[in-house]
C-alpha cells in the first residue's frame, strides 16, 4: 500500500466518512452500553433500512425516509413504553421484525435488483459521495452538539434515571432525546457500515472502552480511539485486500475488543448487563 491512495477522491471521502461515524458511533455507544440500550439501536437500524427501501420504491429521498422511519420507530416504542403498555424490549423486538418485514416487502415491490439499496444493507464506504458527506457531517455535528450541551443530564440519567428525576432533572425527556440521538446516529452510519452492521459500530468500541475507562468521559475517549481506529483501519484493509468494507471494520473492532478485554485491569467483560 502506498500513500498514493490518499490522493484518490473516493478514498479521501471514505476516510472522512469513517472518521465521522467512528467518532459519532462510539460516543453515542457509551450511553447505549452503560444504559443497556443495545437492543433499541438494533431495532432502529432495521427501521431505517425499511425507510431507505421505501425511499427508493417511491422515489423520495432514501436518507430522508431513513430518518423518518428511524425516528418514527423510536417515538412509537417510547410511547408504548411510557403508557406502560409494553416493556421496552418487547416493543423493540416487535418493531425490529415488523420493520424488517416492511423492508423485505418494499424490496419485493421494487422488482428489479438495485445495487444501491443493497449498499445500505451491507455498507459501501468506498461509494460515499460528497453530498453524502455533507449530510453526514451536519447530522453528526448536530448529534454531538446536543451531547455536549446536555452532557451532565445524559450523564445523570445514564447512571441513575430515577434519582435524576427525583433531583428535578427532566429525566424522561432527556431519555427520549437520547433515544432520538441513537436513531439519528444509526441513520448517519447506514451507508458506510450498512444496516446489518451499524449496530456493531455503536456497541463494540464502547464495550472495548468499558474495559478500560474509569469515568464516563474517559470511556468516551477510549471509545473514540477504538471506533475511529477500526473504521479507518477497516477502510484501508478492505481496499488493500479487496474485502467488503463494513465487515472488515466490524471484524477489526471486534479484534480490538478482545485486546481491550485482555488488557482490562478488572476483567469486566461479563459485567455488561441489560437494564431497560
Amino acid at each position: 500500500m502506498t500513500y498514493e491512495i490518499f490522493t484518490f477522491g473516493f478514498m479521501q471521502r471514505a476516510l472522512t466518512a469513517s472518521i465521522i461515524i467512528g467518532a459519532l458511533c462510539s460516543i453515542i455507544g457509551v450511553f447505549v452500553v452503560l444504559r443497556g440500550l443495545s437492543f433499541i439501536g438494533a431495532g432502529t437500524s432495521h427501521a431505517a433500512f425499511a425507510g431507505v427501501t421505501f425511499g427508493y420504491l417511491t422515489g423520495v429521498s432514501p436518507l430522508g425516509m431513513a430518518v423518518l422511519f428511524g425516528l418514527g420507530t423510536v417515538w412509537i416504542i417510547h410511547g408504548l413504553y411510557q403508557r406502560g403498555i409494553m416493556k421496552l424490549d418487547v416493543s423493540i423486538g416487535m418493531f425490529y421484525t415488523f420493520t424488517m418485514a416492511l423492508a423485505i416487502l418494499f424490496l419485493g415491490l421494487m422488482g428489479t435488483y438495485n445495487a444501491e439499496v443493497y449498499g445500505f444493507l451491507f455498507g459501501s464506504v468506498l461509494s460515499v459521495t460528497a453530498e453524502d458527506l455533507t449530510v453526514m457531517g451536519w447530522l453528526a455535528s448536530g448529534v454531538l452538539a446536543l451531547v455536549l450541551l446536555f452532557y451532565k443530564e445524559f450523564h445523570f440519567i445514564t447512571f441513575d434515571q430515577a434519582m435524576a428525576e427525583a433531583t428535578g432533572i427532566a429525566a424522561g425527556r432527556f431519555f427520549f432525546l437520547l433515544l432520538n440521538l441513537i436513531a439519528l446516529t444509526v441513520v448517519v452510519s447506514l451507508k458506510t457500515v450498512g444496516a446489518l452492521l451499524v449496530f456493531a459500530m455503536i456497541v463494540i468500541p464502547a464495550a472495548s472502552a468499558y474495559q478500560l475507562g474509569r469515568t464516563m468521559l474517559g470511556m468516551m475517549g477510549y471509545a473514540v480511539v477504538f471506533g475511529v481506529g477500526s473504521a479507518v483501519g477497516g477502510v484501508l484493509l478492505s481496499y488493500r485486500f479487496d474485502l467488503p468494507s463494513g465487515a472488515t471494520i466490524v471484524l477489526l473492532a471486534t479484534a480490538l475488543f478482545f485486546v481491550a478485554a485482555a488488557l482490562s485491569p478488572k476483567r469486566r467483560t461479563r459485567a455488561i448487563v441489560a437494564r431497560p
Partner: protein, 263 residues
C-alpha cells in the same frame, strides 16, 4: 394540626398505584427544622410518603404541599431543594464513575441547563465529602466501595444539593452496627448544624426514637404522630404491628420489641 410554618403539609391526601391504595387520607404538617422518624411495617406507605413529597406520585384526592407549593405543580427547582436518599439503591458496581463525580450529580439540577459544574460546585462537593468523612476516597471508583461507604457517598450527594429538606429512606439498613451509629451521628450533626428538616424512614424503632423530635406511625393510614414517648405505647403499636409487641421502660425512652406475627 397544620400551621403556617409547615414546610410540608399533607391535607387529606390519598395516593394510589393503579388499583392499590398506598396512603389513605393523610393529614400531617411538618415544620422547618424538625427531625421526623417514619415507622411502619413493610408496604405501609413510608417510601410512598417520601415520593409524594418529591412530587413523583401525585395524590388522587386531597393535597400535598411543599414550600407552600402544590406537588402536582412542584417545579423542578423545588425538587432541587429536597435531598433524597432512596431505599437501598442498587448501584451498578461497574459503572465508570468516581466518588466525586457521583456527589457532583447532586449539583446538576441547581447548575441548570446548558451549564457545566464550576469552582463553587467543586467546593460544595468537597464540603459534602468532608461532612461524610469521605474526602480521601474522592477519586475512587464508586463500585470499589463497601455498601456503607456507598451509603455515605449517597448522603453526600443529597447534601451537595444544599437541601432544606432531607428525605432518608432506610439509610442504615444492611449496614453494620458501628457504621449505623456513625451514619446516625452524622445525620444528627447535619440536623443540628445546618438546621435541616429531616424525614428518616426506618424499621429500627429504637434507633430512631432516641433522636427524632416526632415519630410518624404509618400503615396506609396515619396511626400516630407525636413525640416518641407518645407514639411508642403498646396499644398504639399493636394496632399496626399486632399483639406480639413488647414495650419496656428502658430508662428515659421506651424500648420496643416487635414480635414475629404482624397484624
Amino acid at each position: 394540626m397544620t400551621t403556617n410554618e409547615d414546610v410540608i403539609r399533607f391535607d387529606r391526601a390519598t395516593i394510589h398505584y393503579r388499583d392499590r391504595v398506598a396512603l389513605h387520607d393523610i393529614t400531617l404538617g411538618i415544620r422547618a427544622g424538625e427531625f421526623i422518624g417514619i415507622i411502619g411495617p413493610n408496604g405501609s406507605g413510608k417510601t410512598t410518603l417520601l415520593k409524594a413529597i418529591l412530587g413523583l406520585v401525585p395524590p388522587v384526592s386531597g393535597s400535598v404541599r411543599v414550600f407552600d407549593c402544590a406537588c402536582e405543580r412542584l417545579r423542578c427547582e423545588h425538587r432541587a431543594r429536597i435531598g433524597y436518599l432512596p431505599q437501598k439503591d442498587l448501584v451498578d458496581p461497574h459503572f465508570p464513575i468516581t466518588v466525586a463525580e457521583a456527589v457532583m450529580m447532586g449539583r446538576y439540577s441547581s447548575i441548570g441547563l446548558f451549564r457545566y459544574p464550576g469552582k463553587a460546585d467543586r467546593a460544595i462537593v468537597s464540603e459534602a465529602l468532608t461532612a461524610v468523612n469521605m474526602v480521601a476516597e474522592a477519586g475512587t471508583p464508586l463500585g470499589e466501595l463497601s455498601g456503607g461507604q456507598q451509603q455515605r457517598v449517597m448522603i453526600a450527594r443529597a447534601l451537595a444539593q444544599r437541601p432544606e429538606v432531607l428525605l432518608l429512606d432506610e439509610p442504615t439498613t444492611g449496614i453494620d452496627t458501628p457504621t449505623q451509629h456513625a451514619i446516625m451521628e452524622l445525620i444528627r450533626r447535619l440536623h443540628r448544624d445546618l438546621r435541616l428538616t429531616i424525614l428518616f424512614v426506618t424499621h429500627d424503632i429504637n434507633l430512631i426514637s432516641r433522636v427524632a423530635d416526632r415519630l410518624i406511625l404509618l400503615n396506609t393510614r396515619l396511626f400516630a404522630a407525636g413525640p416518641p414517648s407518645d407514639v411508642l405505647r403498646r396499644d398504639t403499636l399493636a394496632q399496626v404491628y399486632g399483639k406480639d409487641i413488647v414495650v419496656t421502660d428502658h430508662g428515659a425512652a421506651p424500648y420496643v420489641i416487635v414480635g414475629d406475627h404482624h397484624a
